[in-house]
Symmetry: D3
Subunit: 252 residues, 6 copies
């Protein structure tokens, strides 16, 4: 945990010397992840993937944003579970806006926002749009995550012998559990897994959110079959794919 690629572990002269490198900004959330995974899953995965990516593309990693946008029932279980600590949309926009603005003011022109909490996406992109206008596009900013860049055949491999329920339901299920088994095995409690199969997602949103909108243990799909190996498959393919994106967008 003392990688010299983490900005918070570097001194300012080291940053000064790194301005031409890509800088990766991890953003997660503090959100319930069923009974077998901890609240910090998204923040931890965002951090780890960012560090692995930095290693691959010779980049550096900004400090992780540990709080994100509101958990929704259909993708994260929603606000009624204790420990789900969310921020309003405007706050998420402003947080990302200010941090990107400072990185650009420092001279960074190659920025990757690595998001591990689906609900953050629209607000992150709003922040990127706003800061891009204000700074007249001097920096190239890529926003991505660990799931969208995965090639279809890798998803198939990851779910080999299992059933892929669709990304919307992959909350505290096979992919996140496997990633945590790969990165933070001691925080995964497979003995506490409650498996009630997969939820059938609704085609709409209804407020107020009510107890019972999601299974009361907090999961949306089964984590059965998760393994560190499947986690590594995801990470390797993700890093490959995002490294390619960076090569395309930042030039060699």
């Amino acid at each position: 945990m003392s990688s010299s690629r983490r900005m918070d572990h570097m001194t300012w002269p080291e940053i000064e010397a790194s301005k031409s490198k890509p800088v990766i900004v991890p953003i997660g959330s503090t959100e319930q992840h069923s009974q077998h995974l901890p609240l910090g899953v998204d923040a931890m995965i965002a951090s780890h993937v960012s560090e692995d990516l930095a290693e691959r593309i010779d980049g550096i990693v900004a400090p992780t944003m540990n709080y994100g946008y509101k958990s929704k029932p259909l993708s994260g279980g929603g606000p009624l579970f204790p420990g789900t600590i969310d921020m309003n949309g405007v706050t998420v926009i402003n947080q990302m806006h200010d941090v990107l603005g400072e990185l650009i003011a420092d001279g960074f022109t190659k920025i990757v926002v690595m998001n591990a909490h689906f609900e953050n996406e629209a607000f992150i992109i709003e922040a990127i749009d706003l800061i891009t206008r204000e700074t007249k596009g001097v920096a190239t900013i890529v926003e991505t995550n660990w799931w969208d860049p995965l090639p279809e055949n890798v998803v198939e491999q990851v779910f080999d012998g299992l059933v892929f329920p669709g990304w919307a339901l992959e909350h505290a299920a096979v992919t996140e559990t496997s990633l945590m088994m790969h990165y933070e095995p001691e925080l995964v409690h497979m003995d506490r897994v409650i498996d009630e199969g997969n939820v059938t997602p609704k085609a709409y949103v209804r407020y107020p959110v009510r107890k019972g909108d999601v299974p009361d243990y907090g999961g949306l799909a089964t984590p059965a079959g998760s393994s560190a190996e499947r986690g590594k498959l995801i990470v390797d393919a993700c890093i490959d794919a995002v490294a390619d994106i960076c090569a395309t967008e930042f030039g060699e």
Copy 2:
């Protein structure tokens, strides 16, 4: 680093079971700390002190806010050093406001905000005031840091054989360096220390900030004489004092 007192390491049923405990919210910054300390000093100290405090008072620790309010020349070196990544005042207010609001919505009524970046203070307190009004004061919220609660005699002990330059200049100096030697020794580079003595603080603020407003290596006072022992002195006295504060404010 896998303390079960960290919310991000806990599952939601564990949070459910902890609602009557104090919850501690650490907030730091991403700010230059001279040439011998890394950018994450404030965030790391806030996190560690919060975990030690949680251990003492049987509390839990919310995820750390790694970005804070703007570094000022007279207390942190200011915005011109690369790697100082700040947020606007409104963003700092909203971030803390939203997180406190969610903790209160979850049922927590004993909250400590542990701040390790002086410039955050006014904005944190504004957030506390706003959320207290909105929630009609159902939660008791204490805001403090690691320096204000230190008894005068402890400060004297810490600076035994040294000269205390006043808290304003204690940026990347004896206290922060000693705390980092206690908590994160491998991130302290005493061989890189540049010691030009103590700055004489100005009695006013002037904008725009200019190169030369502070010494160009980034420090405001000498870290000479720092040691892990002095760091431990600070931590022990701080935890004692804040535990007393919590006893007073939260009941036994």
Copy 3:
């Protein structure tokens, strides 16, 4: 166009008499829709579907919000096409928040937000969440659109003999063109269709947006094969599905 179900065509005593009915709020956008469809596609579809739905469920229709959130390259062609007139995220949130708040203040407790512009969604839901908290959940608010509720077999029917490129690319393509042929045939210019096949969507977002990120005629997938009949298929199935949702959420 003089349906008595449109609020803007009703007098206030007629509104007074309708408070127990569902009220439907249509929101669209002003956005390029390739060379054969006009800028108002989303607003017009939202309005028409809302009126059809109102007829079915004995509801009324609030005035249409004609401007929405920013068009994105991967789902709408992006901001570089003239005539794409977008609002910032905060503005979209506040617009919906204020209107919902007034409907609730007037006594409406059954509200459907009918969205026809994908990019609006996250900001609409933020508005719904905020107003729900402020009004303590007295109103049941459903957010949906014309695509998510379509049963899979209807999508197959709609694309009978054609290839469904996925919803992300369905911008100015078969579904929207068919809906416009059904609702506003005189505004569809099939003679101007430019068909360069389907775009391959990227797994990430990159800013600044550049000319060339999408085909320069503005479409993402072919509208070839569009017809009023396919449009009617969509409408009928959508109305059926949303009427069912309303029955579930609003009672009988």
Copy 4:
């Protein structure tokens, strides 16, 4: 209703070809208009006058903003009538600001904001001022309405045989009723007119607004004597006057 002067009926290449033309932005409200006129009066009048003006000056018409600032008792009856759906001042400012900003970004430099809801005015002008500063005045923006440009002798003609109560009371009275009889006769219900004469306006504002601050049927002055002919008189004179304004401000 399929005029090619409406932006929402045009394709983006048609917009591209129209950048040197004036663009007219209609803004109305959703507000009670006594018992004989519908809620959409302001939005409909703004739209129709804008289209007539566009025809005259070879301009185009942006989509109508159907929601506006809060109805006030002394000019619109106030918030207590069901169906009056208002937005906060900040929202009205931001909505207009964002839309004007996008029009200017698209290259339009001749903009007319056509307002038909008195209460909108201060907030529209704030938006115009803000966007003018941000875009360094590259566009000429005219804000007007259908009443201020009317020459005094036209007002006399319109009220020939009637008594003009002053513009403040002309809410759902002779001018608006006549305009609706001219533009949307089927939405005017003269059989439902309640005529209690004219209100005496107060020289101050008092909050909270109370039932009884205005007559409980919602009107402020009598619509007796309204006719489509009087409506046409207003429209013709207004278009003449605003066309002159445009000639003065935009060049030939």
Copy 5:
């Protein structure tokens, strides 16, 4: 100037004892007032009228807001004159909102906002509306000024032998000059009066504002004939009228 009716001259126990009295909040501006009147005209008139009113109705006067909303060419000469120091609309709203909120929190339930700068009005009323909703209407808030309550016959008396140009042009003209001769004679420089007669007001607003939109000396109508006596006429009638308003709205 040491009236015990000024809150800033009172101690907190004196405020405590005054909670059942009306409190008057004066708001002015810092705005050019031609060459013979100083920038503080609006703030000074607001203050003096408030103190006179307080004397009459046994009320107290809150500290004056010396900055207000933007000066407009047609009513104040506009932003291009040096010394016109304005605030954005949102700031004016928030300033009044916060101050009213605190007065209400202190227990005041009879509040008069005395405005002396026409352009402030819409933003003041927005603030009153917002705080009234938030505080559920516990306080009665009257918003008025020194011109609207004047009976028509008083206006005729004030302009006896002169020509009333309409309120819109009464900027640095007969009424304001006379009020200043009554209240602050040493700040009136009749020897510097430039008299170019009355401006013909435009029926619209155009941005950007340009030099030449108003006469370059800054006045809109002639101050010729101003006198302290005319000023006293205005004040006496205004105080009478507003005292009546207060009696009506606050009870005896």
Copy 6:
């Protein structure tokens, strides 16, 4: 009180002629000041010191901001005393931001913000930082107050024969009382002084604020020994020191 150095007493041509001079912006508060001093202490001291400074450095004085940020128990007694009328942090930031922006737009490049209410400081500086960025640093802005620039030996002189309790407790105590005896003797009521000695300040902040957090008469330290002479000592030394600061920062 008719100094020609007050902007509100000057005409716009006099401002035009003063653009190269320093402009001083006084900001105070409306806050309880124990039982012997009035609510306007901070605003009055800010105004007077600014006028004295203007006289010394040939500057001019902008109108005073009479409302400021929230009073805190440990430095001002807090919000529970009637007559303490505060604004939210965002409002204080925006008020100062807008006014500074207008001064800079008018051509002023030498600006001093003279603050007399400790709690304002962080929000004032945020405003200065924001406007400095927006205007690319064209103006030099100094923020100071009347206490920080005092040389240590002057503080000793002022407290000759008395005990200095530290600046935090100097609320309605010796320094403020002496300043008021110097500037506004008729508003000081030494006969009402309640002297319960000095409060022991807490090393933390706790919300909600409660009656009893500070002595119920409102003071934090004794004003015993206050005199106009001590007040003059402070003023003279402060003006000397700030004049030096201006010479350093603005050049001769």
